[in-house]
């Protein structure tokens, strides 16, 4: 199955996302902020990146921009996790190059459905 990078500064959210994805047979690597995620992304290949937006050190929007500038991640699906349902925030992610978004709160089923949407 897919190799997925899960980025969130909240350990509980990260664990939930990773656990859910693992339950669906995916392999997950966790990172607690954008900087850490970028390092992991550079040293490994991922089929999907799921990232929180609000994070210390490097936020999800910047991470998305940085990833898109890497040759290996030009077309990799990137999903942002956002609590703000306002169009503005979603668009910020889109403009940075994110594939799509998932609005918090979400349940494991919604997460899997969304992941399926980009992984097939």
């Amino acid at each position: 199955m897919a190799r997925i990078l899960v980025v969130d500064d909240s350990a509980s959210m990260r664990q939930m996302v990773a656990f859910t994805l693992k339950g669906a047979g995916h392999e997950t690597i966790e990172a607690s902020d954008g900087v850490e995620a970028l390092t992991s992304a550079k040293t490994g290949r991922f089929d999907l990146v799921i990232t929180d937006v609000n994070m210390p050190n490097m936020d999800g929007i910047t991470l998305t921009k940085e990833l898109r500038s890497l040759p290996n991640y030009r077309f990799t699906p990137i999903l942002t996790l956002t609590t703000e349902s306002s169009a503005e925030k979603k668009m910020a992610g889109k403009q940075a190059g994110a594939t799509g978004w998932l609005v918090k709160p979400f349940n494991p089923d919604q997460l899997l459905a969304t992941a399926k949407k980009v992984l097939g």
Partner: protein
Amino acid sequence: MSIDMSQFHEAFFEESFEGLGIMESELLTLDVGAGDVEIINTIFRAAHSIKGGAGTFGFMNVSEFTHVMETLLDEMRDGSRDVTQFAVDSLLESVDVLRTMLESARDDAEMDEDMVAARYAVLNGILKGSLEGASSNEAEESVVQAVEGDNSNGKVGWQITFIPHTDLLMAGNDPVRMFRALSEFGELTSVVDCSSLQPFTELVPEDLYLSWVLTLTGTAAKADIEEVFEWVEDDCDLTITPLPKLEPSQNTPTVVAEPALETIQSAAVSPVKKVLEESPVSSNAAAQKAAVKPKKTTESASIRVGIDKVDEIINLVGELVITQSMLDQAGEDLEVNAEAASMGGDSQSQKRNADILLRLSKGLAQLERNTRELQDGVMRIRMLPISFVFSRMPRLVHDLSAKLDKKIELLVSGEETELDKTVMENIGDPLVHLVRNALDHGIETPDVRLAAGKPEVGTLNLNAYHQGGNVIIEIKDDGAGINKQKVRAKAIEKGVISETDNLTDSEINHLIFAPGFSTAEVVSDVSGRGVGMDVVKTSINKLGGRVVVESEEGKGSVFTIRLPLTLAILDGQLVTVGKESYVIPLIAIIESLQVDRSQINAVAGKAEVYKLRDEYIPIIRARAVFGLEENNADLHDSLMVVVEVDGAPVGIIVDDLQGQQQVVIKSLETNYRKVETMSGATILGDGTVALIWDVNGMVNVHKKKLNNGVIKA
């Protein structure tokens, strides 16, 4: 798949409480008037995480409440709202409410709905105006959605014209996946328009030149379809029109179909079903894990450990393994050499033997060092910086100085000093009490201070540091100090001491720790009703610690708390009574001495006392407490260990004194049952079990036996 979300609750609560701590401390540093955006951002982020987590893990009330706080913070952040003292205070109080809500959620306890509602009202009051606009917008949106939903009901299908922009693929979206999602709603047919496909030489492989007309039959709502295209709505031209009833075939696409149409169509759509069939998600592992329900824990059962501490332990274990193999080798060599020697020893083999023995003793020394370091390393896992407790103080000082109309500066140092987690959890309340006390009774109001020639702003110093095997915490104020005349008079009035008692200054100062003692002229709601200081002392004693006070009238007071680093290991004095060895906690022992028969007095009707220098101390015979026969009734040349019990020395007679050593405490209660005279057990170097004395319990049992006439005076 269903996942038991409660397995993440513990982590969620832990990080939420941490987030609340951050919000609190940052709110306190926030300057009214000119709010630092970075600080507001940090507070916002903490609130935001709590909200997101709470929503996800099903604590909707927490999520909703945090949302209101977040809205307020968001407006502060973008500058549309001023950072007022009122707003900051409100947010601080909201943090408290939020903490209570989270605690109730964690403990499955009833929540004070009124308190939450009241806080809601205040926050909404602040938000009023801007919030009204937002809510009406939301309402409008939901009305629109409802209308659209109605329109789509009962329709048999949709025609979707999907003309992607050439860069649609750039963000990782893929039309195939979208079509696949659509095909889940019903039967999907697609017609591809390849007319804008570039000649091969000019074709950019990353661009998308195709567009589609899709026909979807089924009961899907328009919103469902829009959701599929949600992420690309700005990257394509999309029209979704309802199909006329039952006539999908009539509705042929208006685009020009190229000859290649059929093949591309099947290529694009046919794999869809295949992949879908193959993709049932295996959720067995998750389901199995979810079936094991984690038990509810009210006390924090987990601990966060810095990765450096774990690495250090791994490193130490590595060294231990090296030592082990070194000893192993030496042992083997010794064996081989012994064999060789038995064949006819020569000076050569003797020399070799000496070499090996040297290596062996080196190895043992190394093993000892490894063990000690490993012990320290493992102990450090339980250690947390004292900032966990100190971080509560700025808020306390902030709130209290406002309440008391005093100007107080709080200076904190040594926050990084580490302390056992259990000790930490139990020292918080006593510390808060001492700080409250210093603010309430210690530091004077600005006018009194000015009149006394002191700076208007009082200073409270909190300091922590390590000393030997202990942690020292100092609470120092530059206030009025303890009024000795007043304390003495009060103590006489309360019957704590008698009029004729001659007390040193230090003894007078320590009277404030006597039960039920309070010198405050007015009972205030800040420091409570004079039940405080003795409780503080008792709690600290329970942790195996001590508290002392030094005070100079007019200059201020210093409370010094001395705590053991950990509750898991104890420095003990080994003693023998009868056939058994026992451990007396070293922290309780004042001195040990040989009894001089002439100094013993048997007070009629009371117990024996011993004249130790200038004071008389009660004698307790350990043999009598344990119901053993006396072996030296007149106590001549007996050994006596003088321990401190409730601030007073007591002499305990033991048979023999052995060495002092560190022992690891094992609980008696979990392995056996509570024994009044013992606080635990330990295993000694030779493998025997020794019980650890609870000297308070010893005294209690002694008194009981005395009263029942079991021990004759």
